[in-house]
């Protein structure tokens, strides 16, 4: 393949990944890594390096808009970053001792179960009848945002703080351990366990994934895993894509985003199981 063709294909895939990532609160590695590995004999290190860059670009690009539009729950994100960062460090420390491949399969199955839970709530725009927990009140995690697709202000309460925190720690552990899938787990933790509205979950996940990724990006950069030839079209494509993704999020209903998320969730679960079996984990 011509280097120019390679760059153009990668750029195009990154635009799509950026849009989807901004909409769903994921890093876009779900799309970037398979595209890269499908292109003749790509080293897994470069794929993960590009994936890390795509996570940071999606996060910063999308969060700039979501924070300004006041959809992101900043306190929720910052509080949960305690769990994700310590989880990521733990993951990196124990990476040599834990069976990474087996864990990838296990977490893939966990995602399948989460997909089932999401499927049952697929018609839901905004959770109803949630009574906030006292701990969430103490941490001032409850919030409100204006949803243009519903034409109204949505007030919501947060619950399940310990469960969500634990799941977030796992999300960090998985990203530190396997280098994949942390956005999906973050959205699930906030949506299923803490009962935040889906738009709040995906935008707050978006806000957080940049920090989780930045912790490991430095080491990937030093190792020479972030190749300019690969990372440059990815970064620019992703940033362009997030512009489209943030517009989509505002105007799509929660239930519609939920269905898109469900599809991607199943794809990520299968990818994780597949990579676990194949051994293409870090």
């Amino acid at each position: 393949m011509e280097p120019v063709t390679f760059s153009v294909v990668l750029f195009g895939a990154s635009v799509v990944a950026g849009a989807l990532g901004a909409l769903l609160g994921l890093g876009g590695g779900v799309i970037i890594v398979p595209v890269l590995t499908l292109m003749a004999g790509l080293n897994i290190h470069y794929a993960i390096g590009a994936s890390i860059v795509s996570v940071i670009a999606t996060s910063s690009g999308a969060a700039a808009t979501y924070v300004r539009d006041r959809i992101t729950n900043l306190r929720l994100g910052m509080f949960l970053e305690i769990a994700t960062t310590t989880g990521a460090v733990t993951g990196a420390l124990v990476a040599g001792w834990l069976p990474g491949r087996a864990l990838a399969v296990v977490f893939g199955l966990v995602l399948m179960y989460a997909a089932w839970t999401m499927f049952r709530s697929r018609q839901e725009d905004v959770p109803t009848g949630v009574v906030g927990s006292p701990l969430a009140t103490r941490l001032r995690l409850h919030g409100t945002f204006y949803d243009p697709s519903l034409h109204r202000q949505v007030d919501y309460q947060i619950t399940g703080v310990p469960e969500g925190f634990g799941m977030m720690w796992l999300a960090g552990l998985i990203s530190g351990l396997l280098g994949i899938g942390s956005g999906v787990f973050k959205v699930i933790a906030m949506d299923i366990m803490m009962r935040a509205p889906l738009k709040v979950s995906t935008t707050t996940s978006n806000f957080m994934i940049g920090v989780t990724a930045a912790a490991s990006a430095g080491i990937y950069f030093l190792r020479g895993d972030i190749h300019p030839f690969i990372a440059a079209p990815v970064a620019l494509g992703i940033l362009l894509g997030t512009v489209a993704g943030t517009h989509l999020l505002l105007h799509l209903r929660g239930a519609a985003i939920r269905k898109v998320f469900l599809v991607v969730l199943i794809v990520v679960a299968l990818q994780m199981i597949w990579r676990g079996i194949q051994g293409t984990i870090r």
Binding site: A40, N43, S60, G61, L74, T137, A214, A215, H227, F229
Partner: protein, 146 residues
């Protein structure tokens, strides 16, 4: 200047608006600056047909993508000091690398900024939370776990 009392009261959201705006600006600024730098690097490669290092020919592509080149086609600097030096003299691959470093730094700057905001609001709980996150982040960047 900005008291932060009475959890959940509507007027409590006022000070955080200022913080939201600044965080949004920092994220947007980081993204725009790094994108501009990366774009400069790409434009230089396109115009001069030179990466600043050994050029990539079509027949090199599979090799480059298959393993880490330490020299020859596809080589690029990875140590931040080397990236800065080479970017300064206008080597396109180093300029792209500089853009990547700026992109990576953006979320870290955001966390540091939120510490300052919560401190200014005298919100000790969230000052503690963000300081902890910043510390873990910096330690992992320095020690190199991740």
């Amino acid at each position: 200047m900005m008291p932060s009392k009475s959890a959940g009261a509507p007027d409590e959201r006022e000070p955080i608006t200022w913080m939201e705006l600044m965080i949004s600006y920092v994220l947007r600024g980081g993204v725009l600056v790094s994108a501009a730098v990366i774009l400069c690097g790409i434009a230089l490669v396109a115009v001069t047909r030179d990466t600043g290092y050994a050029p990539i020919q079509p027949h090199h592509l599979p090799d480059i993508l298959a393993f880490h080149p330490t020299a020859g086609p596809g080589y690029f600097p990875a140590a931040p000091a080397a990236v800065l030096r080479a970017a300064w003299v206008g080597k396109p691959y180093a300029i792209i690398g500089l853009g990547m470093l700026l992109l990576i730094a953006t979320p870290v700057v955001r966390v540091a900024l939120s510490v300052a905001f919560f401190l200014a609001q005298r919100d000790w709980l969230y000052t503690g939370i963000t300081v902890f996150v910043l510390a873990v982040l910096l330690v992992s960047l320095i020690v190199g776990v991740g």
